[in-house]
């Protein structure tokens, strides 16, 4: 029975290419309706293959799952899904407007609705003045903008974007981000596959890290970061070993301390745990210059996950 709260519900998705090349090795993934979900992973992790399976471009070796409540592969459901492929190539003889009209029609959008949406979307992605020019003269950033517009032309409930800001300048990236956030406010589900982790961090509610065809981590950024969150204390001088020993003793069990010259890192998210440490340092006449909580960035989490997976031998394409 499909879960109505899920836009994407994938269980045990496998893809083995000829020559026993394992692209996906049992991916489980759930994306809630109305959230922005980010898929990260190194090159060859299987991110694009996973998206292509959902869009029926690649046939899975094994797949159980639903897209908007319908089985993956159900063609009619794709009328409610928008997709921007990576390195897309639009027919070069078309103008931006014609592209939106053509792909809108292929998504079964009636002419009147298309007409109304085309101008609106061209305005949204900042391409109105280029709308009637052949795309052969567009820059890569312009292509991405038109690509995003064509993914939205049929007003889909679920939007899958593969590297949407690839080749887009910082201003354009910000505009695209704003578009995505406004779509989220309208209740659309957005699934982004990107290398730009800082971009994802700004807009994603939840992320999954795919490594070697498997989901290494999945959850909100806070959930993924919690094990690495800590308090950072910047001191005027390095505390002597006796004071460090006293600090360790005053910390609750399980909370670890890392000292590095004149800085301390206390692995906790609870500010109360830090208070006795501050008292101890002050009584020892050590000046505390700064105290602040530190949450690891998505990039740090990603690098850590990739590093860990490499250590356990999960390499893309290899046999399990």
């Amino acid at each position: 029975m499909p879960d109505a709260s899920l836009a994407i519900n994938l269980t045990n998705v496998e893809k083995v290419y000829r020559g026993k090349v394992y692209a996906l090795r049992g991916v489980n993934m759930r994306v809630n309706r109305g959230e922005v979900f980010g898929l990260l992973g190194p090159n060859g992790a299987g991110k694009s293959t996973l998206v292509k399976i959902m869009m029926t471009v690649v046939k899975p070796t094994h797949c159980q799952g639903q897209l908007l409540g319908e089985e993956v592969g159900h063609k009619a459901t794709l009328a409610r899904v928008g997709y921007l492929p990576e390195n897309h190539r639009f027919p070069r003889y078309m103008t931006g407007r014609q592209i939106l009209d053509f792909f809108g029609a292929l998504s079964q959008t009636p002419r009147t609705k298309r007409k109304a949406r085309i101008d609106e979307l061209l305005e949204t992605v900042g391409m109105t003045s280029w709308a009637d020019k052949k795309i052969s003269i567009y820059s890569k950033g312009m292509m991405q903008r038109v690509g995003l517009a064509q993914a939205l032309i049929h007003d889909p409930d679920l939007i899958l974007l593969d590297e949407p800001t690839d080749g887009v300048d910082p201003v354009g990236r910000r505009e695209i981000r704003d578009v995505l956030l406004s779509l989220k406010r309208k209740g659309k589900t957005i699934f982004i596959n990107s290398h730009l982790l800082s971009e994802l961090e700004l807009i994603c509610d939840r992320v999954a890290i795919l490594i070697g065809g498997k989901v290494a981590k999945q959850g909100t950024i806070d959930e993924l970061a919690i094990a690495r969150q800590h308090y950072y204390l910047d001191l005027s001088q390095a505390p002597d070993p006796a004071i460090l020993e006293s600090i360790r003793r005053c910390l609750p069990e399980g909370i670890t301390l890392a000292a590095n010259h004149s800085s301390l890192q206390i692995l906790t998210t609870d500010a109360a745990h830090v208070q006795p440490v501050i008292d101890l340092l002050r009584s020892a006449q050590i000046v505390i210059k700064r105290v602040h909580p530190v949450r690891p960035s998505l990039e740090e989490l990603f690098i850590e996950a990739v590093g860990h997976s490499s250590a356990v031998g999960a390499k893309p394409g290899a046999q399990p």
Binding site: V57, K59, R92, Y93, L106
Partner: protein, 394 residues
């Protein structure tokens, strides 16, 4: 009811979009328009050709000594003959087809390029429908070219030949059919190799192979018939000599003549007959082999030749052929060559009996067989291309 009508309108919206896309794609290719303009030009040039009792005229100037004149063939038949023997096989069936192949050969390889195919397959449209729609539209634009060419030819024949021959438009389905035999092969190669150049190149090679098979079939049919006519002729000669010998033997002994020369001739003829029969059998074996090889292949030339069969009256053809034969015999007489069939098979090719046998054998092949086996080939190749297209990961 609502869902059904939505689905129907969605179907129409998608099909309409693909049609417009195919049109825009072809419109962007200069070659498509060049072919169209050249087609109209070629059809217009026919308007400059005329026929009168002295011969063929071009732009009002009569060329004497040409094989046709209006006493031999009616102007209407002449124009139809020109249309079916020159315009269709040479222009539509060769040059325009080659240009059309280059025009539409890239449709599938370009669609399945990485970055492009994802945009098509991620829509609520089945792969098979997408494939077939693209294929049919490519053929539709070829049909459009033939239609325009036929329309201009129809007007030219009407104005110059004085006959408004609607059967000229049979060229539209026939030439489209002929083109589809090659295009399905081009599509298969395009999908397998993903290369426009490779698909067009190998299609042209395949077309050449079909032409070689066609020529081999035609030549072997001709020479088999000629060889069989030579055997029949030889048998007649033997019978004639035998009859004389028998008649002589039936005479009273005192009235009998010396038949040694006739007997010698008959015996030599019998020896030759065995050789002739062997040659005829061998030629017939090869002809059947080529026919067998040709059976599952598309009959490009035979399909185009159907226009000739349907448009030109056999009487007109016979009159022209007889006249040409008489001219050849007169020419041979002038240069001192014998006009009677001799020992060489080639000399029997031109006889009325051989030509009749060829007409019966080659021209008598059923339309259903020609088109049916060709369509069978197309269905198999297209099915394979569709299977690869539908099953492949992109």
């Amino acid at each position: 009811m609502n869902l059904q009508s939505t689905e129907k309108s969605g179907f129409g919206t998608q099909t309409g979009a693909l049609l417009v896309d195919a049109y825009r794609d072809l419109q962007s290719r200069k070659l498509f328009w060049l072919t169209l303009v050249l087609s109209l030009l070629v059809a217009g040039i026919f308007g400059l050709v005329g026929i009168n009792e002295n011969g063929i005229s071009i732009a009002g100037r009569t060329l004497r000594g040409t094989p046709f004149n209006s006493n031999l063939i009616a102007p209407a038949e002449f124009f139809k003959l020109m249309y079916t023997t020159l315009a269709i096989p040479v222009w539509l069936g060769f040059l325009a087809t080659a240009l059309a192949l280059v025009s539409v050969g890239g449709l599938f390889p370009e669609m399945i390029t990485s970055g492009s195919i994802e945009l098509y397959l991620s829509r609520p449209i089945g792969r098979l429908r997408l494939f077939l729609t693209k294929y049919v539209f490519a053929l539709l634009f070829t049909a459009l070219q033939v239609l325009l060419f036929s329309a201009v030819s129809f007007i030219v024949i009407g104005l110059r030949g004085g006959i408004w021959e609607f059967r000229i438009f049979l060229a539209v389905p026939l030439v489209t059919l002929f083109f589809s035999y090659l295009y399905c092969f081009c599509v298969l190669l395009g999908i397998v190799t993903r290369s426009t150049l490779a698909s067009i190149l190998f299609t042209v090679i395949f077309w050449g192979f079909l032409y070689v098979i066609h020529v081999a079939d035609l030549q072997l049919t001709t020479f088999s018939a000629a060889a069989e006519q030579r055997v029949a002729h030889q048998q007649q000669l033997i019978q004639m000599n035998q009859k004389l010998i028998d008649q002589n033997a039936g005479l009273p002994a005192d009235r009998r003549g010396n038949m040694t020369a006739f007997e010698f001739q008959r015996d030599k003829q019998r020896e030759s007959l065995a050789d002739y029969q062997q040659t005829a059998d061998e030629l017939r074996w090869w002809q059947r082999l080529i026919l067998t090889i040709n059976t599952p292949l598309p009959k490009t030339n035979e399909t185009i030749s159907l226009m000739n069969r349907w448009l030109i009256s056999p009487d007109a053809m016979t009159a022209v052929e007889d006249d040409q034969r008489q001219r050849r015999e007169a020419f041979r007489a002038r240069i001192g060559a014998t006009s009677r069939p001799g020992e060489n098979v080639r000399q029997f090719v031109d006889t009325a009996e051989t030509q009749q046998q060829i007409d019966e054998e080659y021209g008598g092949r059923k339309v259903a067989r020609i088109i049916g086996t060709s369509l069978g080939f197309e269905a198999a190749i297209l099915g394979l291309a569709a299977w690869v297209f539908c099953r492949r990961d992109y």
